[in-house]
Amino acid sequence: MNLSWLDSRLARRGAIARIARTALGVTAVDAFLAERPSGFAAEPLPSGTNIITLFMRGAMSHLDTFDPKPGREEQGETGVIQTKTPGIVFGESMKKLAGMSDRLAILRAVTTQTGAHEQGTYLMRTSYPQINSIRHPAFGAWALHAAGRHPGDLPGYVLVGNGNDHPGSGFLDPALSPVPVADPKAGLENTMRPAYLTEENFERRLSLAEKVDRDFKASYGGNQIEAYDRMYAEAVRLLGSVDLEAFDLSKEPESVRDRYGAGVVGKGCLLARRLVESGVRVVEVEVNGWDMHRDLFEELPTKASALDKALATLLDDLSDRGLLGTTLVVLATEFGRTPKINENAGRDHHPAVFSCVLAGAGVKGGVVHGASDERGHSPDSGAVSVADFNTTVAAAAGLPYEKEFHAPNGRPFKIGGGGTPVREVLA
């Protein structure tokens, strides 16, 4: 048996471990070399469910995607397409997903309080309203906190996007915050040392930095400094990973890349699949550009088709690789858009009702839960709050959504925000 791959892996790991030990100080090394690196929970859940979330930023119109109102004036220029599920139609751009509606659970009466992007996005990501006196953890950070990350050197949580306004790990361990990958095509940048920089020199540099910094760190503690210490340890650990190739989309055949599509959503989904395959537990893909206040009927078809292609391919691919049973796929957005078409041929913000979609692990396919009224304006039946929705996601992922966790200030929080899971869509 050829074990050279294992040798090189261990060798590289050994070298990096040595660097960490000599250069990064004791706390960092503890996190680094511990049996379970920081972020592992006491009791990892047996299911080991992965989560891939596609977040449509700017607020995806429900009427033009998963909740059309054919024949109504509010529908505008968007046609509809029959799905595999009897009596259920999608917006016409959702061709491929219409053909696999038996795998999808559609929630058509999600409802929220705020029509402001920042607050809406924060609420959807954390399950709690944004307030000044606390930073709540994002769902992915909760998932890692409760269920742990997978073994290996890759991060537990990757965000495809910039992450500037991402709540990250909130009041949890900074190491649980997502590693942002700004451009999925470029992957994770700056992971190669310049050719002139030997491993030995790299080690000397880190060690030197640590020593010079001792006085400063002795004088100033605090979360921010601590967070940077953690990130340095994570970065060194990642540089030692033999799985870094997971971030490199050029390793995929062109035919596969074509199937996912060229835009951020296509590349993001392909990257998500590669990362999950390599042991990243949570991937969130941000897709910007849904805030269509004007010319919606010109802009939406391109955007929606790209989403349709990417998500359908992702589900197929996960299924073919036997990963769909252990990977939950979530399609979410911060709120919906007005049924009334404005004077610029666009739709404005509409928190009263919108649609989200689930598929994969823990989810029952072919289900539509809840309905909006005839205009797509308000919930008619099966209304689901953001907390209910996220609690459903937590339930599908096998996370302890009823358990109370305490923030450093003593306040209790629940994964998903203490809502009621929608049993109808759970497998």
Partner: protein, 674 residues
């Protein structure tokens, strides 16, 4: 334009740098390390820093309003009043303030907060060597009249005002961005400056201040929401859709306020709007705008027709050029109607709303003016307490890292300032200074409080901050970029964004009178493309000022918004879509960029400021040079031994120095402002 002599430290730097350029054509520190096998590494072929940034600096192209140095006693007295207010409160709360800053700590904080970058080696040694008892005040004054201050303050406003070159495809905002920068350089009073933005008429390059209203073009309700948030520190956005259960503002009040500015127009498309109010008042621009719009529509139609005849595609860039030239902001009073789904008892859906302010009243002298002018007068009035309080709190936060009211755009009765007496005093100061923001800044940084060692503070604990000193802040993305640039470029101002005048000259096509005809319009478009179009000029710019794909220019001069993967975005620069979108959260890619990114390695290249400085010195002097250049302080004895040990035991001196520079850059001490 009057030219102003550069302040002395700059002049010294200029001369010294010029001298070095002659005597020290040294090799880079990165270039010649060997691989273990003894073969020269591939990177041994050095990437060269562009000549443009290696040249002796000739500074920024714009003049900065001079500081009144005779006012120092007044500044000190004003600072003392702030300290007295704080001291009273600290005594009551039992707060023991941290120790004062050492000279080198002060030096570094002053450069970062007032100049947006760390000092150069020369600036640092000159300040530390100076025996002038008034040297701190002197440094503050010279920084506040330098282009560095303009750059720093511009970055702050770019984040707040969401400055981008193309808010929409047909909005070409370069001249507006330049106008903001020049308004800062001229130190225009803030109230005047804001009033201009809220009332400006015309094309972007005739009257660049229109860029503010155009930022939310076609979105009259978000425009009002954003304006009230930024300038009055008040969130009324929720009331756009519904009465908020816990908020003071009703949807009706929101619409009443929005009714003032509902008649702002700018577009070339769409149907002409009929003013519906009886006593119709219309700005002088309205006729010009109508004529321009007509010509733009005719030219676009003609270009489509010609494309059809020739079987070619319509040139979208040309269409946008026409639309950009047809964007003329103008105003005529127009009624605003409530939404069709208005659900409260105080009015009916689709009923017209009369303009009404949220509090106080429209100033007497503005009451005969049109709605937009009334709104602007109310917002910026000295009698509108929120206008002064909001900007005072913003400026205070810029200096201390925390606002007296947080979030800074959420003043409410149940979200009072943590230090009410100080808040009142700062707002009164703002009025006393006639909204001279730079003078306000000068006073705040002259306080004892600002000159004490930083206090680590976590706002999410819910505890109020003491303001006994600034909070410990990570450098902003822009401060970090500009600091690294200081270590790289002798001339960080080699590249500047185009001036409004240059852009206007290249882009302007007068369509307000007769239609110039398609051929003339196309010729004008081509002239613009060749001289100013970012699309065409980018390559040339990168060739002249680029290094490994990075444009070596001050953060304020870079394109905006930058792509997500850019160093500045990785370190949290705002996306220019979110008001005050800057963040300082730690991420793994930031560390990878510090380890291996091109910009951190640029400083180790031949011709970088720090490498050139080193060429003149042997260890142990080299160690001092490196510490002063990177951390703005001399090494203590332990540091020195450590550093010398490193340099002696490295394969060669260059490698050792390179390792030391890199190591200092990767300390928390470098990243944070202590």
């Amino acid at each position: 334009m009057p030219t102003i002599a550069p302040p002395r430290p700059l002049l010294v730097a200029l001369l010294v740098a010029a001298a070095w350029a002659v005597v020290a054509p040294s090799a880079g520190l990165a270039a010649e390390a060997k691989k273990p096998g003894g073969k020269k590494a591939r990177a041994a072929v050095p990437f060269r820093l562009p000549a443009a940034v290696r040249d002796a600096p000739d500074g920024a192209s714009f003049a900065v309003a001079p500081i009144d140095r005779t006012a120092r006693d007044d500044v000190r007295a004003a600072a003392a009043r702030i300290d007295a207010l704080l001291a009273e409160r600290h005594a009551r709360d039992g707060v023991v303030p941290p120790p004062s800053l050492s000279d080198s700590q002060f030096l570094r904080r002053a450069y970062l907060d007032l100049g947006g970058r760390i000092p150069t080696h020369d600036e640092a040694s000159a300040f530390l060597a100076s025996t002038d008892p008034d040297k701190r005040a002197a440094l503050v004054d010279s920084l506040l009249e330098s282009p560095d201050w303009v750059s720093r303050f511009y970055n702050v406003w770019a984040d707040t005002l969401r400055l981008t070159e193309r808010p929409q495809k047909n909005l070409w905002s370069e001249a507006y961005l330049d106008w903001v920068k020049r308004s800062i350089a001229a130190n225009r009073p803030y109230d005047e400056w804001v009033h201009d933005m809220l009332t400006a008429d015309g094309k972007l390059w005739e009257n660049p201040a229109v860029g503010y209203q155009l930022r939310d073009q076609g979105m009259p309700l978000p425009y009002v929401d954003n304006t009230v948030r930024v300038f009055l520190g008040t969130q009324i956005g929720c009331a756009q859709c519904h009465n908020h259960p816990f908020d003071a503002w009703t949807q009706h009040q929101f619409y009443e306020l929005a009714a003032f500015t509902a008649g702002t127009r700018s577009g070339t498309g769409g149907k002409p709007e009929k003013p519906v109010r009886k006593e119709m008042r219309k700005g002088a621009r309205a006729d010009t705008a109508d004529a321009t719009a007509k010509n733009v529509r005719a030219l676009i139609a003609e270009s489509r027709k010609r494309a059809n005849q020739n079987g070619t595609k319509v040139n979208n860039a040309f269409t946008q050029f026409l639309q950009a030239n047809g964007t003329v902001v103008n105003f005529r009073d127009r009624d605003l109607k409530l939404p069709h789904d208005y659900q409260y008892d105080d009015a009916k859906p689709e009923e017209g709303v009369a303009p009404h302010v949220l509090w106080g009243e429209v100033p007497q002298e503005a009451r005969s003016l049109d709605g937009r002018a009334q709104f602007a007068a109310w917002v910026t009035s000295r009698d509108n307490p929120q206008f002064a309080r909001t900007i005072a709190n913003r400026m205070w936060k810029l200096c201390f890292g925390v606002g007296l009211v947080e979030p800074i755009d959420d003043f409410r009765p149940d979200n009072p300032p943590s230090h009410p007496e100080l808040m009142d005093h700062l707002a009164a100061e703002m009025l006393r200074l006639d909204f001279d923001l730079r003078e306000f800044f000068r006073i705040v940084v002259s306080t004892e409080a600002w000159q004490r060692r930083a206090i680590p503070y976590d706002p999410t604990t819910g505890e109020a901050f003491s303001f006994a000193a600034p909070s410990l802040r990570r450098q902003s993305a822009e401060q970090l970029w500009d600091s690294i640039l200081t270590l790289v470029a002798h001339d960080p101002w080699a590249y500047e964004r185009p001036t409004g005048e240059a852009f206007a000259a290249a882009v302007n096509l007068d369509l307000s009178r007769k239609n110039p005809g398609l051929d003339a319009a196309q010729a004008a478009f081509e002239r613009y493309e060749d001289s100013q179009s970012p699309r065409k000029t980018r390559r040339q710019t990168m060739q002249t000022y680029g290094y490994k794909g990075q444009l070596l220019a001050r953060a304020s001069e870079l394109p905006t918004p930058l792509p997500l993967g850019h160093f500045l975005r990785q370190f949290g620069q705002g996306d220019r879509e979110t008001i005050d979108g800057n963040r300082t959260v730690a991420t793994v890619p930031q560390i990878l960029a510090m380890f291996n990114g091109p910009i951190t390695h640029a400083m180790l290249e031949r011709g970088s400021t720090v490498v050139d400085e080193l060429a003149e010195h042997d260890p142990p002097q080299a160690v001092d040079v490196i510490f002063l250049s990177v951390l703005s302080r001399l090494p203590d004895e332990e540091d020195r031994q450590l550093a010398l040990g490193e340099i002696r035991s490295a394969a060669d001196r260059r490698t050792g120095c390179g390792n030391l520079i890199w190591a200092l850059l990767n300390t928390r001490e470098f990243l944070f402002i202590q």
